[in-house]
């Protein structure tokens, strides 16, 4: 079965759906059996707002091009189901897809925070990995876990390496849906000054767009992992690490200043360094993640948990063993995954926590 992702363009408001993970070579809307079955029932879809991805209708068709119908379809309507178009022409029949629970899709979709202000030449642009974290946090199992775990506490939610801020701003903006209450505190850390500034803005926009639902964004700071945070305070830690295996870790350019003044023009070297920090993970892509895992017992509150993203090359099964070796109470569970390559999940999010026994 092919996996799909829904997008909506921020300006033209058109929606489209793309095959994010084909179930086999050449598989897609025209070839995969999944989509021939008109009774195909899909989980409530999350709609990602985008600005950088071109709208197939406005950008591609309008400029005389055409898009691949096997991998992309416009979404004609989302109501009690989702109707995909069969092609570029508006009078194409398309077909209906039922949505589980028969609920109105529009009401239940959690919108992605606006990140149109983020300078993507210096800050990691939200991609499948960021979206997988959003899916994880808004999934029924994780909502239930988080709501049961922090009934008597105002949880402190910290994201490391916020980049554009889309993930932590999503958690903050939809506090009532995810945590069942607005009384949550959120904050972000990044090594990149541009990312930290962008995140503050993303969080603010997310709060403005979700009055009555959002938590409290405390602020962003620059730092290495969680070093400036007091021990045993963090209740929910979110980390989309630099996970791409690289022969070496990014080297800091000699004339690099951490906090460039507004009139300082960053050079190409500086921009590449900042972007490399967001993906280069060294050996097995695990050099940074391993440092964080080691520190978990000292940073998570007794009921604290962490959501960490892994790719297949990170050997997440071995990471799970290392986490479980932190002590008999430590647990690691695959909370969400996306796509399979050679029988292994391409990306997955592990939820890590301490099992505290009955007196919880």
């Amino acid at each position: 079965m092919c996996l799909v992702t829904y997008f909506q363009h921020r300006h033209c408001k058109h929606k489209w759906v793309v095959i994010s993970e084909p179930c086999g070579p050449g598989m897609g809307f025209a070839t995969c059996d999944t989509f021939r079955n008109s009774n195909y029932v899909k989980d409530m879809p999350v709609l990602y707002t985008t600005e950088s991805r071109p709208c197939p209708r406005c950008c591609v068709l309008a400029s005389g091009g055409c898009y691949d119908l096997n991998s992309t379809r416009m979404v004609e309507s989302m109501g009690w189901g989702v109707k995909w178009g069969t092609g570029p022409a508006k009078d194409d029949l398309g077909f209906e897809i039922k949505v589980k629970d028969g609920c109105c899709v529009k009401v239940n979709m959690l919108p992605t925070p606006d990140t149109s202000h983020v300078p993507y030449e210096r800050v990691y642009e939200p991609a499948e990995d960021s979206f997988l974290l959003l899916d994880t946090l808004s999934s029924d199992t994780e909502k239930e876990f988080l709501q049961n775990r922090f009934t008597n506490r105002v949880p402190l939610v910290l994201e490391i390496g916020t980049g554009s801020g889309v993930v932590i701003s999503f958690a903050n903006a939809h506090a009532r849906t995810i945590f069942g209450k607005r009384s949550i505190l959120t904050a972000g850390v990044d090594m990149n000054a541009f990312a930290s500034r962008a995140t503050v803005q993303t969080a603010r926009k997310g709060e403005q767009d979700n009055p009555g639902d959002h938590g409290m964004y405390l602020g962003s700071c620059m730092g290495d992992l969680t070093t400036p945070w007091r021990g045993w305070e963090i209740d929910v830690l979110i980390f989309n690490p630099p996970y791409v295996p690289t022969s070496e870790m990014p080297e800091r350019p000699e004339d690099f200043t951490e906090v460039p003044t507004p009139d300082q023009k960053p050079s190409f070297d500086h921009d590449s360094y900042l972007l490399a920090l967001s993906y280069a993970g060294g050996k097995d892509g695990m050099e940074t993640t391993d440092r964080l895992i080691e520190s978990l017992p000292d940073i998570l509150s007794p009921k604290g948990c962490a959501y960490i993203l892994f790719c297949a090359q990170n050997h997440p099964d071995e990471a799970r063993k290392r986490i479980e070796a932190l002590g008999p109470e430590w647990r690691a569970l695959m909370a969400r995954s996306s796509g399979k390559t050679a029988g292994r999940e391409k990306l997955q999010v592990l939820r890590i926590w301490r099992e505290l026994g009955n007196d919880e």
Binding site: S183, M216, G219, C221, M222, G223, R230
Partner: protein
């Protein structure tokens, strides 16, 4: 960064972590900004039990706010006293540090705050 954040932060230098003097960090030449925010009394009442009250008293007085009582108010006291609730809401959530420095009371290292963002990246000799 909101004033409440200072209750959760400490010096980034590893050797300072266990030293009581490293918490809270001391604001220096701090410029404050105020944002008017809707009061969420549930947030204030429920966040107090997780705070280091002594540290908050220090931060509050260093920022020039009226002195806080020796003991944190109880949930009942807050529910009965709207002003107490609003004062804490104002200090913890409506007030942010926009510019200045945060100083470790143990090693003396100063962390710059610019545009509301504190920089805790250490120079290589301190890592």
């Amino acid at each position: 960064m909101k004033v409440l954040t200072l209750n959760f932060l400490t010096c980034a230098v590893k050797a300072c972590k266990s030293a009581p003097a490293s918490h809270p960090l001391h604001p220096k030449d701090a410029e404050l900004v105020q944002d008017e925010l809707e009061l969420n009394s549930d947030m204030i009442v429920n966040v107090l039990p997780r705070l280091d009250w002594t540290a908050l008293r220090t931060t509050s007085s260093e920022l020039g706010f009226p002195p806080l009582p020796d003991q944190p108010p109880t949930a009942e006291e807050l529910e009965a006293d709207d002003k107490k609730l609003k004062d804490l809401h104002h200090l913890l959530l409506e007030t942010s540090i926009s510019e200045g420095k945060l100083v470790c009371g143990n090693c003396g290292h100063e962390y710059a705050v610019k545009e509301g963002i504190a920089n805790f990246l250490l120079p290589s000799h301190l890592v």
